[in-house]
């Protein structure tokens, strides 16, 4: 008989790492309900930080801006990423393919500071030349999309590589025009990946501080920027309240999504079986 520790080392290690991963989340949820600003002791239950959050016009405004920016970024990234994935998977030979593939993937390894700085320099150059665009929502979206597109590309590309080409060829043989083949056969096939790409770039954009800090203008601040400026000033349980709401939303979304995926898989399995 091995001693308890040795036998369960796997479970113990996993539990410790999960504790490490979840400790900050649990900490924020707990202390968002604290009745005082005190950080180390739970002095009593209250909802005052949620009240403060709802009344904080800076945070509320920034939240809506972030939602807008992330939605546009998500759509743009998913569309451009799908385009780029299609190009890289289906067109094996065109001029500058290697360079193209390098350029679309590069933002994945570029430090965000470098992306932010170089885009800022571009925007300043354009603004000096044409008097437009002012730094603000548009420039933030452009910056986020550069990054989002690279991630969207990876997601859609891996799906596109798995698509059974014979379906498309069959549609062609039956007289479908290429554009019909794309919208009726290819697109439904890769739709889950495009949705995943949208969600991923939405999340990246909603979470980004660095690129927004470089590209935002005066008075235009995304939610992470506002939180970042609060965070540097010290402890503020209002932020814990915001975090708790976010954690709840994400948890619900992920649970719903996994239930949906599980149901889809089961349905597909049933269909295959009944066939």
């Amino acid at each position: 008989m091995k001693p308890f520790f040795q036998k369960n080392i796997g479970a113990i290690w996993m539990a410790l790492v999960f504790l490490f991963l979840y400790a900050p989340l649990m900490f924020m949820v707990l202390f968002s309900f604290n009745s005082t600003r005190q950080d180390a002791r739970f002095t009593g239950f209250s909802l005052r930080w949620y009240e403060a959050l709802a009344k904080d016009s800076k945070i509320v405004e920034a939240f809506w801006l972030s939602i807008k920016v992330a939605t546009i970024t998500g759509v743009l990234s998913a569309v451009l990423g799908t385009f780029a994935a299609f190009v890289l998977v289906r067109y094996q030979k065109f001029i500058g393919r290697t360079i193209f593939s390098g350029m679309v993937n590069a933002p994945l390894v570029m430090p965000e500071v470098v992306i932010g700085l170089s885009l800022l320099l571009l925007m300043v150059g354009i603004q000096n030349a044409f008097g437009w665009p002012e730094r603000g929502m548009l420039t933030i979206v452009l910056g986020h999309t550069l990054l989002g597109m690279a991630y969207a590309l990876v997601v859609v590309q891996s799906r596109l590589l798995d698509v059974d080409r014979s379906l498309e060829e069959a549609a062609m043989d039956l007289g479908a025009r290429p554009i019909q083949v794309f919208f009726l056969v290819t697109l439904p096939n890769i739709a889950p990946a495009i949705l995943a790409a949208f969600l991923l770039s939405f999340t990246l954009s909603f979470d980004d501080v660095v690129i927004s800090e470089f590209l935002s203008g005066p008075g235009v601040n995304t939610l992470p920027q506002v939180i970042f400026s609060y965070a540097r000033r010290g402890i503020n349980p209002t932020i814990y309240a915001a975090a708790t709401l976010l954690i709840t939303t994400v948890t619900i979304a992920i649970v719903v999504y996994s239930v949906w995926v599980a149901r889809q898989t089961r349905r597909r399995a049933r269909e295959t079986f009944s066939n």
């Binding site: 991963l21 390894v109 470098v114 909603f206 939180i227």
Partner: protein, 305 residues
Amino acid sequence: MLKTSFFGRRWVIGVPYAWVIAFFLLPFLILLYISFVDMGTDIHPFKPLWDAQKGVLSLKYENYGSIFRNNEGGGLFQTLYVEAYLRSIAYAFCTAVLCLVIGYPFAYFIARSQEKYRPGLLMMVMLPFWTSFLLRIYAWKGILADQGVLNQSLMFLGLIDQPIQMLYTSVSMLVGMTYVYLPFMVLPLYANLVKMDFRLLEAAHDLGASPWRAFWLITVPLSKAGIVAGFMLVFIPAVGEFVIPSLLGGPENIMIGRVVWDEMFTSNNWPRASALAVTMIGLIIIPLVIYYHAAAASSLEKEGR
């Protein structure tokens, strides 16, 4: 064949191509350009490369020179910038090592757990990733502060008499960075380990190898690709980290991302900020090139077998 153009092959290639040229290549060229010019006077943040009065190109290397040489009588490589680069590399390296030490057994145990538990466990690894990275870093501030939960608990338990300073030191930096980048280490390692044939370990056991010996001689070499991939996925973004040093680090923990920012917005020295950024790209490309060479070499080796 699907070779016929659907709404024009030219457009399909052209749209994303034009996008990356406009928003990736062009900004990078501007960055490179500004890194070679003089700092401007008055309202212009930089002088043009083309000197109209003298009619010559005035290419300036000073921006790069000043990164590596101290103008105020110091020697080569004794500048604040070099220090910041080295510190960034050191933190990124330590973070990657810590992630490996914590993440490897973790990924291994997930890969060896019953198959029905694996998707749930992986989901639990990913879930924090989908919540705000900034907020999770912020939480560590409250945990590690002098009056924070950790210090107070340790004092309550009587393990320490007075708070240990953890926040704004290397400790809080490494905790924060390891925390954020751990999933990037775990996922490639898991993907690699789950494919491993664990019967090899049984065979080793049957032949008399101790579990440790089997682990070192079989599991680790077989998961080398996962280790290297995870290491790169942690190291590369960690070098350029900007938020964690700002929230969890003190004045002595400044990393290069912050230095670029200060140079740009506090000193308003655009050319030097650009030169620092270009140097930073170089710093990241070197390990990447080594990685790709190693990856290409090992895949060639495999084909040769």
